[in-house]
């Protein structure tokens, strides 16, 4: 899958955990979703679980960087790295 396709799939998931009424699909890839109020701090845990289940990312090996997982671009980077 291309980065754009991964982004669409990711946005579908993020819409299920975002704060209601927020236009997450318009968010810039570098925008911190939590600081911008688009998601709450619990979202990081759900993003970790999503990446573990959907892409088999082993966070015990790579560690969790909350800043990296707070933006769409950062999450996509993790997805791309895990598929290499």
């Amino acid at each position: 899958m291309s980065r754009a396709e991964h982004r669409e799939t990711l946005l579908g998931f993020l819409k299920t955990i975002q704060r209601p009424g927020q236009p997450i699909e318009e968010a810039d890839e570098g925008l911190n979703l939590i600081n911008a109020g688009l998601a709450d701090s619990l979202a990081i845990l759900q993003i970790v679980s999503y990446l573990e289940e959907t892409y088999g990312v082993d966070f015990a090996e790579r560690g969790v960087d909350p800043d990296e997982l707070s933006s769409i671009g950062g999450i996509l980077d993790v997805i791309e790295q895990s598929s290499q």
């Binding site: 600081n35 701090s41 845990l45 759900q46 970790v48 573990e52 560690g63 960087d65 909350p66």
Partner: protein, 469 residues
């Protein structure tokens, strides 16, 4: 949750986002003015004088900020002599090498780098216990063991960079400035480590100007909150630390909590509760003032980092208060304890993972952090003193962890639903609960001289009219 401010007030309080001001701050006169405004603000703090030197130097040469801030390695604690700086330099350099060449480390060390780092520190404690009471070896070992707890979490962030691969192409000067920081005296790594600071570092004059203006803003807030705290604590006059009184009627509104717990003052029920809430405000203000000073300095040096404290008294949930009250301490607990536990139990249901991770962070991690602050008791094997000192904290951390976990579960249940609007009765009720919870658990956190656990428990019960003798 934020309240909408009238336009004029908002423009004044958000001056650091005004485009014309940002453009002006990029000019030479603008930069001079920023430093000239920051100087008296920093000078009002004892530790601010050294920070002012750093700010001035970085303002002249912003691109050399890491090098200039690395001078803190030689000056961070004026009472430290040069040879002590050299002693701590050894672990710094060793950690840097481990991070830079992380892939070459044994697999078990790469998997559990923090465990090995802390294991090395505890091995040093154990080594000291076996040494004779005097001698040069003991002197060096004890000096190192006393210093390490202040730096261990910073070294931990450096190892995290190693694990993520971001340290591989760095030099020691990319790390020295935060390992031995000039911009904070807190054992908590304000601004975190290399990865977080690099993301926040200014890369052009506009970003630098924005960062400096944002730094000025929090320094102004630091002075405001310190003034308010002095007034509430009664520290602005000769009768420091006496009861806070209504300035109009002279009626006592609150006593210092430690004096109530120790029995120096007896008070009616209403006054005991008001004292609890005043103490909470005092603690929040104290943490805010210190954090704003450190964050303000970092921002003036071009690292536009997040605030350490951001309106915690407006939080409408226990977990939100915890996020906003002491952000960088929370990040230490989250990155070193919460996430490693959470990802280590990937096969468990999410709620159970959250439970284990929350207790690993808010209970175990919190206790461990404070055990390390008592390094001298560990070195001298005064374990009885350590237990006495930290037993109340056990209760505080347990209640904190339980409260945060329950709050996270409620937050999860509320996802997808609209939040209660700020100012509504529901919102006020939630904020009142948050204040009450943190005010009460602070009974087991507040420093009280020569008082046993039973006295704290008695005070807690007395809040509900129960006389436990």
């Amino acid at each position: 949750m934020t309240f909408a401010l009238p336009g004029v007030i908002r423009k004044a309080t958000q001056f650091h986002e005004q485009e014309r001001l940002i453009a002006f701050a990029q000019t030479m006169p603008g930069r001079v003015l920023v430093v000239a405004l920051a100087a008296p603000l920093l000078y009002l703090f004892e530790e601010g004088k050294l920070m002012l030197v750093a700010v001035c130097l970085v303002s002249i040469m912003p691109s050399a900020r890491k090098l200039l801030l690395s001078l803190g390695f030689f000056s961070v604690q004026p009472s430290l002599s040069a040879w002590k700086q050299l002693i701590i330099g050894g672990p710094f350099f060793g950690t840097y090498l481990a991070a830079k060449h992380f892939k070459r480390l044994p697999a078990v060390v790469r998997r559990y780098p923090q465990t090995f780092l802390h294991g090395a520190m505890w091995a040093l404690f154990g080594f000291i216990w076996l040494l004779p009471d005097e001698g040069p070896v003991r002197l060096v070992a004890v000096t190192l063991a006393t210093l390490l707890p202040y730096y261990i979490w910073r070294c931990g962030y450096l190892l995290m960079s190693g694990k993520r691969g971001t340290a591989a192409k760095t030099g020691i000067l990319d790390h020295l400035y935060y390992l031995s920081p000039l911009y904070t005296t807190d054992s908590v790594p304000i601004g975190k480590g290399h990865d977080a600071l690099s993301r926040r570092e200014s890369n052009n004059p506009e970003e630098f100007a924005k960062s400096q203006l944002a730094g000025l803003k929090v320094l102004i807030l630091a002075i405001l909150w310190r003034t308010l705290d002095y007034w509430l604590s009664g520290e602005s006059g000769p009768d420091a630390r006496l009861a806070f009184s209504d300035p109009l009627t002279g009626s006592v509104l609150a006593f210092p909590l430690d004096m109530l717990i120790s029995g120096e003052f007896e008070a009616p029920l209403l006054l005991m509760w008001s004292s609890l809430y005043f103490e909470l405000i005092h603690v929040v203000l104290r943490i805010a003032v210190a954090g704003h000073l450190f964050v303000g300095t970092l921002r003036l040096c071009g690292f536009n980092v997040m605030r350490n404290t951001y309106k915690p008294l407006l939080a409408d949930s226990l977990v939100e208060f915890w996020n906003r009250f002491y952000y960088y301490f929370k990040e230490v607990l989250v990155e070193f304890f919460f996430f490693p536990t959470y990802v280590g139990w990937a096969k468990l249901p999410m709620k159970l993972r959250m439970f284990m991770a929350t207790f690993a962070a808010a209970f175990v991690g919190n206790m461990y952090f404070h055990v390390l602050l008592e390094a001298e008791s560990i070195i001298d094997q005064r374990f009885g003193d350590l237990i006495t000192e930290l037993t109340p904290r056990l209760i505080y951390c347990f209640l904190l962890a339980a409260g945060i976990y329950c709050s996270m579960l409620r937050q999860q249940n509320r996802q997808g639903k609209d939040a209660a609007p700020a100012g509504s009765m529901v919102w006020l009720g939630r904020v009142a609960w948050v204040w009450t919870f943190y005010a009460i658990i602070h009974i087991w956190n507040v420093k009280v001289e020569a008082v046993d656990l039973a006295a704290r428990n008695r005070f807690f019960l007395s809040l509900f009219g129960i006389d436990a003798g």
